[in-house]
Subunit: 348 residues, 2 copies
């Protein structure tokens, strides 16, 4: 049987992360992981036709129902949350049921929030199928839905029982979403791991061809880096904020754009460029390292500039509702050098 690639050790309990090509079809993995009788699967219109039936078939003699969300951030809201809760209640799902999130970050964030709140918490397994979800959303226990005023405004911290990452699902991911996922990979590298950054510079062509070995390596490394941080700071009180490099402006961009123009990773790519510029202005980061970052982002086919049509006043207003504001001061992550992020207070 497949062994866990990583084990995430939290204060109270640990859970396994499996990273392998084609593990989604590994029946023995599922039968050993899933003891629950009632299983509810959240997926979306892209992922469900490809993987839902295969996965459901691997689970025998269980009560399985599912919901299939429309794709995109618009599905990640309190109404969908309430719809799923209604479904679970109407179908007599009990406290010992299992919720499975099979899809990208929208699916796993929403499914996790449902699992956290249904009957004050039921078991949850994440099967992230997008690169973004595999390298970012899968580790750390953040669950959430969006609010018209801000992304991820409603949610809580809730750890899954297991995370299954099948790198083969990335072969069906569309090009734009794949590249958007690379933004979070670049973020992890530039914030915490100079070696990974160098590896990405060298292997970008292979990566864009979705070489499975390269993918497994970078996903594992990102999960390790993230796990190392979040297990030291489960509730985002200090260290964990360093994971937000590029996210302050990234979230604000997504918001004023009403989540239309940019995918999350694309907004983060631009956010990283802005944060790197601020890092140079603050005399933290050298211009040459800033350029290396901008070059890597561009080589992944990601945007590096705010469109000139964008309203700067709106952008600044949007920053005010960022969760990272304390006592009216905006805390932002800047770069000291490649592989080393640090938190700084920006006066407003």
């Amino acid at each position: 049987m497949l062994s866990p690639t990583l084990t995430i050790q939290n204060k109270d309990f640990s859970y396994p992360v499996f990273i392998a090509s084609n593990c989604l079809r590994d029946h023995s993995l599922w039968s050993s992981l899933i003891s629950q009788q009632q299983v509810f699967i959240v997926s979306d219109e892209n992922v469900a036709p490809l993987y839902l039936e295969k996965f459901s078939n691997a689970l025998t003699n269980k009560q399985i129902t599912h919901t299939i969300l429309a794709c995109g951030e618009k599905s990640k809201n309190l109404t969908q949350f309430a719809n799923i809760i209604d479904h679970l209640a109407e179908n007599n799902y009990a406290r010992d049921c299992l919720i499975v999130g099979l899809g990208g970050g929208v699916v796993t964030d929403l499914a996790g929030f449902v699992a956290a709140c249904y009957m004050r918490g039921v078991d949850f397994i994440q099967i992230p199928t997008s690169l973004l979800a595999q390298v970012d959303a899968a580790i750390g226990g953040k669950t959430a839905v969006n609010h018209p005023q801000a992304k991820n405004l409603i949610g809580c911290f809730y750890q899954p029982k297991a995370v299954i990452i099948d790198t083969n699902t990335l072969t069906t991911l569309d090009e734009r979403n794949f590249r958007a996922g690379l933004a979070e990979v670049i973020k992890m590298a530039v914030s915490f791991d100079e070696n990974l950054f160098g590896y990405l510079e060298q292997q970008m062509a292979q990566l864009l061809e979705r070489n499975q070995k390269v993918l497994q390596y970078i996903i594992q490394r990102c999960c390790e880096l993230k796990a190392n941080i979040v297990t030291q700071d489960e509730k985002e009180q200090g260290l964990r904020s360093l994971l937000n490099f590029g996210h302050t402006y990234g979230h604000a961009l997504e918001k004023i754009d009403n989540y239309q123009r940019y995918l999350h990773g694309e907004a983060v790519a631009i956010g990283m460029v802005i944060a790197a510029e601020l890092s140079v202005k603050d005399k933290l980061l050298s211009v040459s390292e800033q350029q290396r970052l901008v070059h890597l982002i561009a080589s992944a086919g990601l945007p590096t500039q705010i469109p000139s049509t964008l309203n700067q006043t709106e952008l600044n207003k949007s920053l005010l509702l960022d969760k990272k504001i304390k006592n009216g001061k905006l805390s932002m992550v800047l770069l000291k050098k490649i592989g080393q992020a640090r938190s700084t207070i920006i006066k407003n």
Copy 2:
């Protein structure tokens, strides 16, 4: 300054519980407890006219807004939750804000759920003003809203920063709600503390006159007993289920009655009588101890019988959605003797 009456020690952190007459007006207590600049108060139509202004006035130089709920379980729903979140977002409440629940269990449960989920968790102070909330809802970190299918179906575990119990607020509590609160006091005594049970038998007249000393003693004792259990079992995985004596049928009764006829405590009173009958049938409890319990419940002016008009089929159906069902089996708390509850599996 007032010292904490109790300190609740959880795995990760501890919080103080203050129990005293008139502590709600103790400005020095509030100034030492509340460092946050943005304060949002949840209260209800009964409590707000009596205490909201006094409490708000004690907090100087802060951004304070509030919501006042209609009284009763009907306010404890996902719509109200969403309305409060909207208000917080529109008023730019930041992650370092404070949510205060000033009222009965409906108010503190809803306010706690908002605090748990707004920006994945902000600070929360509970000021329970009903006897029920003071002896039960205040300790243990359970937050929730109701769902049409079941009470408290949506919620999570979230610990407050402090709990303030002003026993003087009980002087304005209406007779029916006061007596309903006594049901939870009796539950704690009959489940865990024979001495407290004896004290209640002796002091019921004083208690019904709302003698402040008697009230402080029983509230403190109930909080101690509950804290002792919940700190050993934060997420209700074993021991904590013993707190549910009388609640399996109690919740089912409330539900099929659509939360109209019975207050929670009244439903629990009847639920305790049913559970005691089942305990005698199971040859666990003696008839004389069963009668002592029924007598104490009656002496508190609480109901001891299911009305004959009630549909037994509906009641059994309602039990099926109880959170305490595992693998199709209903786990129920029975009595071995007065002061000693135990969990039993009831075949369905």
